[in-house]
């Protein structure tokens, strides 16, 4: 095993799976192109081959040196720290909340879902004073509406389910009246 740890092996397996999956899917578009001898698959397959070589090289390096750093240039992050109890559930919530918000954009629209999303993120970042959460939620919502709706008139998702769609329509009507003043 050398200096290999379980996380090194998991990392290598994930990359091997990605390579295998992408290679498998490359047969779906393995058609000749009349004007180009190498076809549509050559480039992705060369990339996959190089990725496989780099993954094996990485595994070999980790086998020899563990998680040591090499002489690369530039900033690289420190390692993740999940030693504090409650860090993992909180991180899972932080990672999932934006997805729930993105999933709600189509049916609910951004105007209705945004305040709940803002408040949730503030809470997940450790703020527990409800007055501060409320005040900052309103402030950020006002900045967002003011910049993108009132000043820039940007088209944003309005939702397609009642009563959320009606709420968005009400906000847009308010904005139209404001613009007319």
């Amino acid at each position: 095993m050398g200096r290999l740890t379980r996380s090194h092996l998991i990392e290598a397996v994930i990359f091997a799976l990605i390579i295998a999956i992408f290679y498998g899917f490359s047969f779906q578009f393995n058609q000749p192109i009349e004007i180009y001898r190498f076809g549509a698959t050559a480039w992705p397959r060369v990339v996959l081959l190089l990725l496989l070589i780099a993954t094996l090289g990485n595994l070999w390096f980790q086998h020899k040196h563990g998680s040591a750093t090499q002489g690369t240039i530039g900033q690289s992050d420190d390692e993740a720290d999940f030693s504090e109890p409650g860090t993992i559930p909180r991180m899972v919530a932080v990672l999932l909340t934006p997805f729930v918000f993105a999933w709600l954009l189509k049916p609910v629209g951004i105007y209705f879902s945004a305040p709940f999303f803002i408040a949730a993120i503030i809470w997940l970042f450790g703020e527990r004073r409800w007055k501060a959460i409320l005040l900052m939620t309103v402030l950020i919502y006002v900045i967002f509406i003011g910049l993108f709706l009132v000043i820039l008139n940007a088209p944003l998702p309005q939702g397609n389910v009642s009563p959320f769609y009606d709420f968005s329509a009400w906000i847009l009507t308010l904005n139209a009246k404001l613009q007319g003043l």
Partner: protein, 493 residues
């Protein structure tokens, strides 16, 4: 040239409405560049439909000004929050963010302001003097093989920066290249890896991917640090670099102007590669290589001078050949087309007024970076005083809007958050996010130019590499790769 420049200046400042558009572009570009979560591309995407109501010169000038000031603005977020406003600011974060952590944010921002202005002004001057001869030279000497060779060189440089090991650097670049294969292939238009989703046929859009990899992943990293009690608020410092400190880097500035201009002139490459190459060159020429990435001012100076030097150069292929060098210059083509104009050699003959208003506006926009940049820096530095639990939702809301606006697809918001999670996990495992983004940006360009080059030489590699510029660039890429591998083996600890 001087008469044309004076005529352009008179046309620019002779009409109050045009002045208003110029000022809006300067301030808008800087603000959108400097607000974490959105970028100059967000502003440009929002403004694109409105340019139909402007004169052609006003519309193109507005985008040119946003390009100059937005490129500088993106450095602010890179330095203060480790969130580059756009990919060309990614190398700025390598040393800019460590400087902020060391309490030298004022020095880093001050250096970025001054060097962005110097790079931009120098580039604008060369652009005015040399657009026509340079365009003629590029037409004769730069073809698909040379562009592919430059992409290879750029990726070789990118693989050696930002990751924990050289292997992870290469894996990062290759992940970016793999993501870039999603969507239609650039030669035959065959759908690849779209997994049955029609929206993916056009590929992964740059804006959501970039926002996800840079902005959202940084939010997740900070969330983890908050949860584990390791979060440290960055220190605010208002100390600007002294004249002597900046004068000591005059060679780096000059070298970065040359690198930035030469990269910027090549269609499809743009300012991003310029910044990476300039940073790589700064390291290569430095006697203290180990200090890079730990808060060395020369890193900020090299990246910021080069990316702004590329802005003027990027206008050369756009105006002379009709070839955009990046996302924003591609939007400029749309502005031209909205007014029934086609950028290319004919524009110089048919609309010289337009060309010189744009040139003059870019010159003054870069000067404005110096004036307004220094004035606004102290205000912007105060952003660091906002507790991160309140800044995070604001950044996420702005990023969500920025991702959605460019194509009006909720899928892009999903892609952004997915890129954010992927970026977070990869960063915590020592991979390089700038490497992934550069691979993503250059992947399609590289593949397209490789295919075109092979077709040109009838698949004969000997002919391919007998082209002098192509062979020099490939050799430079191989040497860069070889030296980084040697350094990696020599310094493994």
């Amino acid at each position: 040239m001087i008469e044309n420049f004076i005529a352009g200046t008179t046309a620019l400042f002779g009409d109050p409405f045009t002045i208003g558009i110029f000022v809006f572009g300067v301030i808008g570009g800087m603000l959108f560049g400097a607000i974490p979560g959105v970028s100059m591309l967000t502003l440009a995407a929002i403004l694109l439909p409105f340019t139909a109501g402007l004169e052609p010169a006003q519309g193109v000038m507005l985008f040119a000004v946003i390009y100059c000031t937005g490129t500088y603005g993106g450095a602010i977020t890179a330095i203060l929050f480790n969130i580059p406003g756009s990919p060309e600011n990614a190398p700025t974060a390598f040393d800019g963010y460590p400087m902020t952590q060391k309490g030298q944010s004022g020095k880093a921002v001050g250096a970025a302001v001054l060097c962005s202005a110097i790079g931009g002004v120098a580039s604008a001057l060369v652009m005015m003097a040399a657009t026509e001869p340079l365009a003629n030279w590029a037409i004769r000497n730069i073809g698909p093989p040379e562009i592919f060779a430059l992409v290879f060189f750029g990726l070789a440089v990118a693989s050696s920066v930002g990751a924990r090991t050289i292997w992870k650097g290469w894996m990062s670049v290759l992940i970016g290249l793999l993501i870039a294969t999603i969507g239609q292939d650039p030669v035959g238009g065959i759908n690849r890896y779209n997994f049955g989703l029609t929206d993916l046929a056009a590929g992964i859009a740059f804006v959501p991917a970039i926002l996800g990899f840079f902005a959202v992943s940084e939010i997740f990293v900070q969330a983890e640090k908050t949860a584990s009690g390791k979060y440290k608020a960055p220190k605010v410092s208002m100390t600007f670099p002294s004249f002597l400190e900046l004068w000591m880097h005059k060679i780096a500035v000059l070298r970065s102007i040359i690198v930035g201009f030469l990269c910027g002139i090549l269609p499809g490459i743009g300012a991003t590669l310029a910044a990476f190459m300039s940073y790589g060159e700064a390291v290569r020429w430095s006697k203290n290589k180990d200090e890079f990435g730990k808060g060395k001012m020369e890193g900020v100076i090299s990246a910021e001078t080069a990316n702004n030097a590329a802005t003027g150069a990027a206008m050369i292929p756009l105006l002379a050949l009709g070839l955009p060098g990046g996302a924003l210059t591609a939007m400029m083509v749309a502005v031209f087309q909205m007014h029934d104009l086609q950028p290319g050699p004919l524009v110089f003959m048919l609309s010289p007024d337009l060309i010189w208003i744009v040139f003059a506006a870019m010159f003054y926009a870069n000067l404005s970076i110096l004036l307004i940049g220094l004035l606004e820096t102290k205000t912007i530095l105060n952003l660091l005083k906002i507790p991160f639990q309140f800044l995070a939702p604001l950044i996420l809301m702005l990023a969500t809007t920025g991702a959605y606006i460019s194509r009006g697809l909720v899928l892009d918001v999903m892609v952004m958050f997915l890129a954010g999670i992927l970026g977070y996990l990869l960063r915590r495992s020592g991979f390089s996010i700038p490497g992934i983004v550069l691979g993503l940006i250059l992947g399609k360009i590289g593949e397209q130019n490789f295919a075109q080059g092979m077709q040109m030489v009838h698949y004969d590699l000997a002919t391919y590499f007998s082209r002098p510029i192509c062979s020099i660039l490939i050799l430079a890429g191989v040497l860069t790769l070889g030296s980084s591998i040697y350094r990696a083996f020599a310094t493994a600890k």
